[in-house]
Symmetry: C2
Subunit: 273 residues, 2 copies
DNA sequence: CCTTGACTCTCCAGTAGCTGGAGGGTGTAT
DNA sequence: ATACACCCTCCAGCTACTGGAGAGTCAAGG
């Protein structure tokens, strides 16, 4: 019979941990003095403790170990848990490697640029979005106003007012500065709005998007485009849909030259391999 | 200006998380209504939030991010943190891969054996140990008693009494059942015990050991030896010193045939590569 | 028998980054 | 007026411990 300190020395498990395992019911001392509360362990409790350590070392939680040990070590059950663990660790390793790659990319960026980048790119899940939209080919960007006008008029007619940011989807597969196939959208949630004329109401599918936020006038927005496109390429993603340009400033009339404007660009992407 | 829910929708960050970041001072809303306590965020806070998300994604803690952002993004500091992170992740990946290997080994074991093994092997750090010992070549195992006798007599003479388990070190490089070079040891801690005659008092170095605990009579101890030797080979370790056999039963007279005996075998090992 | 020092006990708080819930106030639309 | 969505604060819980306070216990030495 060992007092907790001796048992701790033999097993190389901290006293606190032994007490914690006692509390969890994972490893109860064979005897507890009724008056002093002292815990007494027996040498033949070492196998159980070692089993706990071994399973813990495989990455199982104490709860899982508790279950396994108390069901008398059912091999099938253990196998199931280990298979799940295997998959988890496998994924874990992959994630950590990707993270490592990102850290390295960031380090290279610092080497070349000498300081923090002006932009951050974030991958986000965008949920399905019910929108009212007008799509059309416009000669040049400033003429998008006409599409917005059509959309606004119809929504006003249907007595709908949004408070969510509106955005444009650019359907061209490549960049152009003339004859741009653009679709101006306004989220309508579950409001009773219906398609009519050039205005279509429908649900955009959910996407996984690389996102960048630009702060400033529109004419410097191309910077953000360059940065995010490079990022997508560098980080093993592929563009898989038309990009969205989201106008985060509040207040409707879109002018090109307000330096307080905040615009988000989202490219739907998927991971390569 | 967005209420927290809208800002949450835009940024895809849960409301609770935004409140948490506010609490930490990591991202304060531009305005808080004095009366209702409502938080109001501005679109141009998105870059900061995204920077937080990006750095978090690299695995930095919120505390580290806080420091970085509030020192105006010192590139050198970030570089330092990222280099450290890189090393951490690198090690993490290695550890997880080793763990994966162990899980796979365990799964194979289950496949072949059909159930949980009887033994668990644990790697433990054994600290330096000051011992009194008697070493000698004994014809056969039962004759170890003579060495114990010599040790006990001398320690009794020096008025020393142990409460720690005693053990034997086997110095033969390979297994033999005759003329065994064995050293019987008793830990003496910092007690005032001195070498005298055949009894040597000195400090054993710390070791990293693979350990197995055997429960039962001595004649089945070879099982444990077989299991641990196989384990060492299978798990990429190499034996790098003489093994220790530790007698964990309390009470001195060692008889061979007590089925309640608990014995631990420790092989000093090092990881290959 | 008393003291000293090592050991043990229980209980509480803290770790990181949230998440969930209770209980109550606010804002807008009908 | 009322319904409803939204917001607030505060508290508890997650994992596997770790550290500390304050108090009791044990064995040895004087």
């Amino acid at each position: 019979m060992f007092k907790i300190g001796d048992f701790s020395k033999i097993s190389r498990v901290p006293v606190k941990t032994l007490r914690y395992y006692d509390q969890l019911g994972l490893l109860k001392p064979v005897d507890v003095d009724r008056f002093s509360g002292y815990r007494y362990y027996a040498a033949d409790q070492l196998p159980r403790l070692n089993r706990i350590l071994a399973l813990k070392d495989l990455g199982l939680s104490l709860q899982q170990i508790h279950i396994l040990l108390d069901r008398d070590l059912d091999a099938g059950e253990l196998r199931g848990m280990l298979l799940r663990r295997q998959a988890e660790i496998d994924q874990r390793v992959r994630q950590e490697r990707e993270r490592l790659a990102r850290v390295e990319a960031r380090l290279r960026l610092i080497e070349t640029e000498g300081n923090m980048p002006d932009y951050e790119i974030v991958i986000k899940q965008v949920p399905p979005l019910r929108v009212a939209s007008v799509r059309g080919v416009i000669p040049t960007y400033p003429e998008q106003g006409e599409l917005w006008g059509a959309l606004e008029r119809e929504l006003a007619r249907q007595r709908f007012q949004t408070n969510e940011p509106c955005f444009t989807i650019y359907h061209d597969a490549e960049y152009r500065d003339r004859n741009i196939d653009s679709e101006v959208c306004e989220p309508v949630g579950s409001a009773p709005v219906e398609s009519r004329g050039r205005v279509k109401v429908y649900e955009l599918p959910a996407i996984t998007a690389a996102s960048i936020v630009h702060h400033g006038t529109f004419d410097t927005l191309t910077n953000a485009y360059n940065v995010i496109l490079k990022w997508i390429e560098d980080n093993g993603y592929r563009i898989c849909g038309p990009e969205r340009e989201i106008y985060l400033h509040t207040g409707s009339p879109v002018r090109q030259d307000d330096p307080s404007y905040v615009t988000e660009v989202q490219f739907p992407v998927e991971k390569i391999n």
